[in-house]
């Protein structure tokens, strides 16, 4: 492995005065300033929350949702605890129970996600073997005035719709 010698800048007297660099920077600032002043409609700023972002894609990690089975629209989750195991924030609470309808053997009786503890890392989605938990809801803001409002339960998570093409769980 050879050594690449890089020429160090800023050694000359003119460069040490910083005047040239200061004016160079000001030139860019003034260019944008005059352009925006003459035509305010092109400024790439949103008046949030009146204006909402339009560039949220299905890959955006929003609020979680639990998917349904394509066959009978029932919950796809089998309460395997993979998401809870992978979760670095330990924000997923699951209580498993026997599933009585014959579709599968196991399902969650309780499935709570504490969105205040969640770091939105997406590990739960990666870990899920049943494509039962996704973050493709496109929801980027969660509002509540009590701590309890931020704990999303099974019914709430099942009711959230996704913005991706695939609505149902893709698990076989």
């Amino acid at each position: 492995m050879g050594i690449k010698v890089v020429k160090r800048h800023g050694g000359t007297f003119l460069e040490k005065m910083y005047v040239q660099a200061v004016f160079g920077g000001m030139k860019t600032t003034l260019k944008h300033f005059t352009a925006n002043l003459s035509d305010a409609s092109n400024i790439p700023t949103l008046c949030y929350p009146e204006q909402l972002p339009t560039d949220i894609t299905p890959r955006y990690r929003g609020v979680h949702r639990l998917t349904h089975r394509k066959s009978d629209d029932s919950i796809a989750c089998v309460a395997c605890f993979m998401c809870a195991t992978a979760c670095p924030a330990k924000c997923i609470e699951i209580v498993a129970t026997e599933r009585e309808d014959g579709v599968d053997e196991k399902m969650p009786a309780i499935f709570n996600i504490d969105l205040l503890a969640c770091v939105f890392c997406g590990y739960c989605v990666e870990a899920c073997p049943c494509d039962a938990i996704r973050m493709d809801s496109g929801l980027y803001s969660v509002i509540g005035d009590k701590r309890e409002d931020f704990i999303y339960d099974k019914a709430k998570l099942l009711s959230i719709k996704g913005i991706s093409k695939e609505e149902f769980s893709l698990a076989k």
Binding site: V78, C80, F81, T85, E93, E98, E105, K106
Partner: protein, 445 residues
């Protein structure tokens, strides 16, 4: 005598099975059908090893050691053999690990990660068999997950001699089951759950309650009877649930219970989780009560040696007549693990020379104005009009002042079993809400 395993010399005795030598020396040897307390069966072929001088790989569970036997357990050739066997075992496996309780302690999972990692070559549909079949005695059967190692069948035919389980069908369609209209019905039935190396037999009691990788384990002794079977207490505390014991598993002890437990003992963990009402500890009140003239104390024969000694010293210091009465249940005992004496440490009571005479106890009880109960069942729901009763208890009591003490899951101590064997047990790692009996007695000195 010594043999050479993977170029390292290993000490062993004449007549030992090669697989025993490997297991006892901590050398990894995958196996399904062999079990140290059930003996070899030789049907799973998973314990193949290469032996110098032998043309083909041999199964370690049916090979006796010889002087200077040269064995290889991890050559490329033997790994390829194991992979083929595993591929065969897993051919029709449903791979439903997400809903399988065995996931995390499953031999198929472990060996697949160690030796498998192949793509399935099955081109036809998997053979369908029965799932979630209730066999009775808290045992659930999933025939698709089974590798037909026959451990459960051998357990019911050789150990309990009840013979409920058998293999039906041939080839792909071979499956474990009970005869029509029969149930698994013996008081040791739940051992098959623990014997099963895969998720075919699971416990109805533990089913879906907790994933095994969340559980911690403490080495303990079953307090169900005087046999003193060695157990693991599996418990945990999570962010969303307070500490709870989920199950007892057997801990191998060749002298006492081998790898087995009775169903009563296995399910006796449930009482450790039961909450009960107690008053908070107040040493002054008890010291005031202890000024009574005639005092009698009854101590449970299930307390540890350390607790018995502390109670004895306390009673001597305060001039309390101390007794212990045996727990006996003639119907409980059998000719194997269960004993008639259903206390854990009655031998310890005798060792500490604590009086066990019922007559003398009744006499002292009639005269006494203060009765101290150290977790003995006899006084739990007795009411006395003219006496003050103080309970130091691990479960609910009907009358008197009840002070909660830590149960045996939160205690470490020593017990003497019915055969006079001294054994230690250890506490779980989470602190108990209730104080330990020995600590309480210290404050009363």
């Amino acid at each position: 005598m010594k043999i050479i395993v993977n170029d390292t010399a290993v000490e062993c005795k004449e007549g030992e099975l090669l697989i025993d030598v490997l297991i006892n020396n901590g050398i990894e040897i995958p196996h399904f059908c062999y079990h140290q307390d059930l003996g070899p069966d030789g049907n799973c072929r998973m314990c193949m090893v290469e032996i110098k001088g032998e043309k083909r790989p041999q199964i370690a569970c049916d090979t006796f050691v010889k002087e200077n036997l040269e064995v290889s357990t991890k050559s490329n050739r033997i790994n390829a053999v194991k992979r083929s066997i595993l591929e065969f075992e897993l051919l029709n496996h449903p791979v439903d690990c997400p809903i399988c309780d065995q996931a995390g302690e499953c031999k198929l999972q472990d060996y697949y990660m160690d030796y498998g990692l192949y793509e399935s070559r099955l081109s036809t549909a998997k053979t369908k068999k029965g799932k979630h079949i209730d066999l009775g005695s808290n045992v659930m059967l999933d025939q698709e997950r089974c590798v037909l190692c026959m451990r459960c069948v051998r357990f019911t035919s050789e150990i309990t001699k009840t013979g409920e389980l058998g293999v039906m069908g041939r080839g792909d369609h071979a499956k474990i089951g009970v005869a029509p209209n029969r149930k698994l019905n013996n008081s040791y039935a739940m051992n098959v759950v623990e014997l099963c190396p895969v998720g075919a037999l699971t416990s109805k009691d533990f089913r879906f309650r907790q994933r095994v990788w969340f559980l911690d384990s403490a080495k303990s002794i079953c307090h169900g009877c005087s046999r003193g079977c060695n157990i693991h207490i599996d418990y945990n505390e999570t962010k969303y649930a307070s500490e709870k014991v989920y199950r007892f598993r057997s801990r191998r002890n060749k002298k006492i219970n081998l790898s087995f437990l009775c169903d009563f003992g296995r399910l006796s963990y449930q009482e450790l989780n039961e909450p009960f009402e107690a008053i908070s500890w107040d040493a002054q009140t008890v010291i005031e009560s202890l000024k009574a003239d005639k005092k009698v104390a009854l101590v449970s024969p299930s307390l540890s040696m350390q607790q018995l000694q502390a109670v004895k010293e306390f009673s001597e210091n305060h001039a309390i007549a101390l007794f212990s009465l045996a727990y006996t249940d003639e119907n409980f005992g059998d000719d194997w693990l269960k004993t008639k004496d259903i206390s854990a440490n009655f031998a310890g009571v005798q060792d500490r020379h604590i009086s066990t005479s019922q007559e003398e106890f009744e006499k002292s009880l009639n005269n006494a104005s203060l009765v101290l109960n150290f977790d003995h069942k006899f006084l739990k729901d007795k009411a006395f009009a003219d006496k003050e009763v103080i309970h130091f208890s691990t479960s609910s009591c009907e009358h008197g002042s009840v002070y909660a003490i830590a149960n045996f899951a939160h205690e470490s101590g020593t017990l003497i079993n019915c055969d006079g064997i001294w054994q230690d047990f250890y506490a779980t790692k989470y602190p108990c809400e209730a104080p330990r009996l020995i600590e309480l007695l210290e404050t009363l000195r």
